[in-house]
Each structure stands twice: as C-alpha cells, then as structure tokens.
Point group: C2
Chain length 162, copies 2
Amino acid sequence: MPHNITIRPAIPEDAGIILTFIRDLAAYEKLSDQVQATEEDVLCSLFGEKPDAECLLAEDDEGVQGFAIYFHNFSTFLSRSGIYLEDLYVRPEARGQGIGKSLLEKLAAIAIERGCTRLEWAVLNWNQSAIGFYESLGTKILDDWRLCRIEGEKLSRLAEGN
Amino acid sequence: MPHNITIRPAIPEDAGIILTFIRDLAAYEKLSDQVQATEEDVLCSLFGEKPDAECLLAEDDEGVQGFAIYFHNFSTFLSRSGIYLEDLYVRPEARGQGIGKSLLEKLAAIAIERGCTRLEWAVLNWNQSAIGFYESLGTKILDDWRLCRIEGEKLSRLAEGN
C-alpha cells in the first residue's frame, strides 16, 4: 500500500464527497444521464437502518482520493455469498499511485474475513486500461456472460403480466 | 400465467429439489464442475438466520417444475437497490408452457412491491434461445459490460497484497 494512504469505512459525514465521486465516475463512463442519486439517497443507502451497500474510502494527507462501493451477492453453485464491487473510483489527479489496488486489496481481505471466496464486478469492454489492470491482479474476465436488465415501464408491464 | 401453475416462496422442505435443480442447471450450462453446494448449504443459504438469497418455486399438479433464486443488489447511480436473479431454471419436460415467464413476472412484481426499479441477471452469450426469450419481455442486453471475477488462491494473494 502507498505509504501515506489509509483505507477506511465511510461514515455519514462522507456522503457529500461520495456523491461527487459517483457523478465523476458516471461522467468518465459516459453515463451521467443515469445518475439520480442525491446526498440524502447516499445517506440512506449506505448508512440507513438497513443499508443496501457498504463503502470504503481511500484517504491521504490531501483528503479523500477514491472509493469502493460493494455489497454481498450469492453464488447458487457454491451456495455461498461473495462480494460484488459495484463501483471503484480514484480521482484522476491521484491515479497511478496504487490507490485502486489498495482498495481492491482491502476488499479482498474483507471477503476472506467474511468467508467469501469470490470478488466480482463488471467492467466496460472498451476500458482496456482497467481490464489490463484487473488482469494483472489475477482477475478472470468472463467473456461469455452478458448482463441483462429490465427496468422502469418495462418492469412494470412484466409485473402485470403484459 | 398457465392456469395450473402456482408460484410460491420455497420452504426448508424444498431444499432437496432445489439442489437437484441447481445440479441440472449447471449440467445444462456445462458448468457441473463448479457445483459445490450440498443440501445443508442450501438450507443455510436460503433459510438460515441471515439468508443470502431468496427462492421462488413454480409448482403444478405434478410437482415442482422450476425455480428462481435471487437477492438484492444495488445501483450507485440510482442509489437504490434492485433485484438480481442469480438462477432461473425450468425442468426440460415442463418447458414451453410459460413457467419461466411466470417466474419472471412474479419476480418483477416483487421488485415493484419492494420499491426496486430494476431486475438484472446474466445470460451465456451462446444461449440464443434464452436471449430471444428475455428480449421478447423487454429486456436490454448490456453488450458492452464484462463480468470480472477473482477467486480462491488469487483472492487470498490479493488480500495479502501480493
């Protein structure tokens, strides 16, 4: 781990910077139109009575530089829960110092600690620098799986059997 | 919904048939070597004190014909939880009667009921009949995302910072 970087769980006071990072990440992924989260949503999702996800922050002397948002998923074949990394982000000015790797290492350690044998996430297929980085850590890219999504109006219609 | 089909939540007494379906599904996906689940694992994962996932069963006069195993995931951009369908299976002899669609409809209804706006899952890219079926229901295939996985020894090495 870079010597001046600390990885720590986020606290409610971090909701503002977390939302900033969510927006920055969406802009990088060219998905800004999909961001609907507000600071109150972040507070509720991560720090509410029954949180939907957890968040790790990477911090150095200059402040918070990146985050990892994750939750538990489940493998039927293993009959065991794993950790799913929903988002990983490091501020552009802080890249190349091993902060992303430090966040992944901490997440791997949390997975092991909780008895999980898998850490999974998704990457955009045009993001070759991310793919190369993940592969260098021992990650397998599951080339033959595709994500499916049904949402909004179409989900409502399916629910009604139309 | 086919007139003699009931969709109901699984109960602990269903663990045996659930495990049979998990094994059948893995054989169909040519992934039998990945199945490590035992009946006790199924009981613990689905019906333990803190379940990792939930299970719906489709039943007709002849017995249980299919299942859907799912859990809650989370979208950072929406700051909202969704439902992730880990496995959907219908016995080969019972296909073509709308049982898979009934399971998906029920799952969509559960999503709406719980305030989720998305239902997501993964499909093998060679399974064109499944892809066509999902698309006919309004599903979008996210062609530009790839799943990443790090597990076992490699996960342990990452956790140790090697």
